[in-house]
């Protein structure tokens, strides 16, 4: 059964009923990193554990909610929204104070020994990802076509088949936009970035979304990146609307597996 969202966790339980929730792995910092953000469950502390010379940022949480019933809970949108926002706030706070590889939502360990073994096994890959993301932030870009530009299917259709094709295109948010201007623009943004990543699936159903992705941008290049965004948006304001979000911790650039 899915777990109802709790504002505060129940009283502390014995160790066997707890699990370790991982927010991310950070390079050890010379000065103390003071994290006061709310933990994933709204109650536990966010703490760091030094393993293999790396700081693992964790909370000790209820095993039932975050391990045994995690998959079911993630299908409960209210639970997912609340806990997902807490995860982001904690990782964003950590990223502002230290260089961190964000863990995927729902990375849970049942014992300290298990966490240690997995970090030890991934240490080399983790170090190489740190080199890539160093001094950079993730920026999200979404480009929407103005809705009035995809509606005239009925007026322009030459036949019934043509009408159906156009109608299908107008209701398919994932339809690929075949516009060389758009391609040139996203390539320009890519050149100003360390790496580019495809957008996540949660947004892919937004109406009129024609392109979305993320860019890993060195902080020294942020101004150029922002200028390119402004220039494009001003030039094609009649056709497209652009949304930019960030700075994000480098979620999309730390690899699916390390």
């Amino acid at each position: 059964m899915a777990t109802p969202v709790k504002k505060k966790a129940a009283a502390k339980k014995p160790a066997g009923t707890r699990a370790i929730y991982l927010y991310g792995i950070a390079q050890p910092s010379r000065k103390k990193v003071d994290i006061r953000t709310e933990a994933i469950d709204g109650d536990a502390r966010i703490e760091s554990v030094r393993l293999e010379g790396l700081d693992c940022w964790i909370s000790r949480v209820d095993r039932g909610e975050y391990a045994d019933h995690l998959a079911e809970n993630m299908e409960n949108l209210e639970w997912l929204a609340t806990i997902g926002v807490r995860h982001q706030r904690a990782v964003a706070d950590l990223a502002a104070k230290t260089e961190i590889l964000p863990a995927r939502f729902g990375t849970v360990f049942l014992t300290d020994e298990s966490l240690k073994q997995h970090v030890a096994a991934s240490k080399k890959s983790i170090q190489s990802v740190f080199r890539k993301i160093s001094g950079s932030d993730e920026w999200g870009v979404k480009i929407f076509r103005h809705s009035q530009n995809v509606k005239p299917a009925m007026v322009e259709a030459a036949s019934g088949t043509d009408y159906l094709k156009r109608k299908a295109q107008s209701v398919m948010p994932r339809a690929k936009e075949d516009d060389p201007t758009l391609t040139a623009f996203t390539q320009q943004l890519s050149k100003l970035s360390v790496e580019t990543a495809a957008g996540g699936n949660a947004s892919s159903g937004q109406p009129n979304l024609v392109w979305h992705g993320s860019f890993l941008v060195r902080r020294g290049n942020q101004k150029k990146f922002a200028n390119a965004l402004r220039d494009f948006t001003a030039q094609f304001v009649d056709a497209y609307r652009v949304e930019c979000s960030g700075p994000w911790p480098p979620y999309s650039f730390v690899g699916h597996n390390v």
């Binding site: 964000p102 849970v108 949660a202 948006t233 652009v242 979620y251």
Partner: protein, 86 residues
């Protein structure tokens, strides 16, 4: 959220509360390092979440766009404000 005179909408930055839930879930659920924990979310489960989200959020956004169109046809559509955000 702020909207400059050039039309670029910038979400987030200093005021992280302005980041929409969609943006967060795009990154938090489907990205990030997978250190193989004792439990890793199954891909099938993640697909189900996207499906559910798209149904809910598309409905919310369509309703918002429809309201905007009736009030002021030239205003840009707002970012989705899904239910459940605290």
């Amino acid at each position: 959220m702020s909207s400059s005179d050039t039309g670029v909408m910038v979400l987030g930055g200093e005021n992280s509360d302005d980041i929409s839930l969609l943006e967060i879930l795009d990154r938090v659920v489907s990205s990030g390092v997978v250190i193989h924990g004792s439990l890793v979310i199954s891909l099938a489960g993640v697909d189900l979440i996207y499906l559910g989200l798209n149904v809910v959020l598309t409905a919310v956004e369509t309703a918002q766009q429809s309201m905007k169109t009736h009030i002021h046809p030239t205003l840009p559509a707002p970012a989705a404000r899904p239910r459940g955000k605290r």
